[in-house]
Subunit: 345 residues, 2 copies
């Protein structure tokens, strides 16, 4: 059972890398601790011990199973950081710490794993968060698809922002902002998965939004709701918001930014961009009189240059979101039924 | 795409259950929120918002990929709660909140998922923890093996217990206690997986140890180290402890409790119980003069009735753990090389 040649061994992930024994230790030391390096993780205790500056926290988790692992604009690692950081940030929390748990298929290429881990480290650094604890399981070949990553995030929350995720302050006349084009992530992953030979590539918008969100929150205390529009797209967020608040929503299709390539691909394949996943887009609901200053603030962020006011909260049709189409009609938005694009995140 | 017959649909997990749309919402409402019911989860915000009574926290994560999902003494759900609760408890933390993320294979039986979720709810209740946030991803048939669960735990830590996971107070003469028989979990899962027709079944020891650990911690401030002996078994914990502290460890084989069935199965199949996984066993290192009272305290817990002092910290062979065998010899313990039993947790 003794394996002496570490270099040979490390080219592929073996079942032993998930054993909890020597190979697991090597993997942790030579890969995870090396790239994610921080004093908490380096302790390698059963739990990461943390001292927060507030006892009010936000706590969130997501599993990532995207296929393919690598796509224009990102990979599963970058996605696993951005997705969880964004869930904290849209709750009004300051993202601080992440855990990362890997389920890896036996025989998975070590170099690919390292690329993924490097992306995670880079993205975490950009977002200002630390990966402080983790786990690795290896399953036999064919029992999972390459690698799945689950990240869980912990952030502190100021009591002034507690209303944001519950949408309790949303009121008639509030404006709805999005920080840029929609559908890029979903179409980028689909194109990469199906090897579609597109004239110009579509790039995923996958990114951590916490700095952009900071700018909005710092400039206005009148932000009433935020949510990132991931699986289910913008339509699902708006439908949920209408349901939670019991208020009406009206969106103007012509104000929703969509990249031409995304629009073309959606038309070709029969997708509605409103339902296509994003990984770097946030819906912000703000008091009408603060709209311009919030828009200006997020436009100053490189992830918000195409920000746009796409609609508002209305008295009509309570609990329902409607869209004014570019050809002048109006239709109701509903939640996604069934699955549009599996394994998009 | 509209699915109207919820009853039919819910018998098998569909890709749409992971879409983030209508089916996901149904699954969350009718399964997770119903069984895990608590006010935080019911809010269904992007992040769970929590108010802790201390800003010193422990944070830990584990993915569970056990095969088979159901085994004598537990299932993947019970395991996913106990494993993470125990990682918090052995760090000296009070386990409070868990996240649970599911990766489910398309076509997975809804009833099996419900059994698993029920077990999670029961085990969480016993441990006094709440499952406050989660995620569900569904992958195409054949792309994962039935279901994988990742739980992440959050607990508060009193500053007097910060030394426990770092082992900084461990000193020569400290006694090493285990709360009962070893190897039960690993052998129970293996027997269930291989359909071994054993005369008397072996039952996994899978359980939350936080209440037992509370008893030990409440009775003595002289607990110097704790760790649960999961993957890699008791031998791996002791080897790690010797490495971290740079001290010597001596264990007496005849004092290590092993169930007769487990011993027999290990002999038959060539396993060493010291390396076989447990899911309800903790190694406690305590100052010599406090040993008896700690032993008495944990023996009063139903999960500690077979507790035993198995060895001590010594000056000899620094950084190494040795075992006195029942036939009178001595051998060094090493970390597990390669994989003994894949997918044991």
């Amino acid at each position: 059972m003794l394996i002496t040649n570490i270099t040979e061994m490390d080219k592929k992930i073996l079942l032993g890398h998930g054993s909890g024994g020597k190979l697991t230790h090597n993997l942790i030391e030579n890969l995870f601790v090396r790239h994610f390096h921080n004093p908490v993780l380096a302790n390698q205790t059963d739990s990461a011990l943390l001292s927060l500056d507030s006892a009010h926290v936000a706590f969130t988790t997501d599993s990532f199973v995207v296929d393919p692992l690598f796509f224009p604009g990102g990979n599963i690692g970058k996605l696993a950081i951005a997705g969880t950081v964004n869930d904290l940030a849209v709750s009004g929390a300051k993202p601080l710490y992440l855990s990362a748990s890997f389920i890896i298929e036996e025989g998975f290429d070590f170099n690919d794993l390292e690329k993924i881990v490097q992306s995670m480290a880079e993205e975490a650094k950009k977002a200002g968060v630390q990966i402080v604890t983790g786990d690795t399981k290896v399953v036999n070949k064919g029992k999972c698809d390459k690698v799945f990553i689950t990240t869980t995030g912990l952030g502190t929350l100021s009591s002034q922002l507690k209303h944001i995720s519950t949408a309790k302050k949303v009121k008639t006349g509030d404006k709805i902002i999005i920080n840029g084009t929609i559908g890029d992530h979903g179409m980028a992953v689909l194109a990469a998965r199906e090897f579609l030979n597109l004239k110009s590539a579509i790039t995923s918008d996958c990114a951590c939004l916490n700095h952009l969100i900071d700018k909005a929150v710092n400039i206005s205390d009148q932000i009433h709701f935020m949510r990132d529009a991931t699986r289910g797209g913008v339509a699902t967020v708006l439908t949920e918001l209408a349901e939670i608040t019991g208020m009406g929503i009206e969106i103007d299709e012509q104000h929703i930014p969509v990249n031409e390539n995304v629009r073309g691909m959606c038309e070709l394949l029969g997708y509605d961009p409103l339902y296509v996943a994003n990984e770097g887009k946030v819906i912000i609901v703000v008091a009408s009189e603060h709209t311009e200053q919030v828009l200006k603030a997020i436009k100053s962020d490189r992830l918000g240059s195409n920000s746009s006011v796409i609609g508002e909260i209305v008295d009509d049709h309570p609990g329902r979101a409607w869209i004014k189409t570019t050809i002048g009609g109006k239709r109701i938005l509903d939640m996604l039924a069934g699955e549009q694009l599996p394994r998009i995140c």
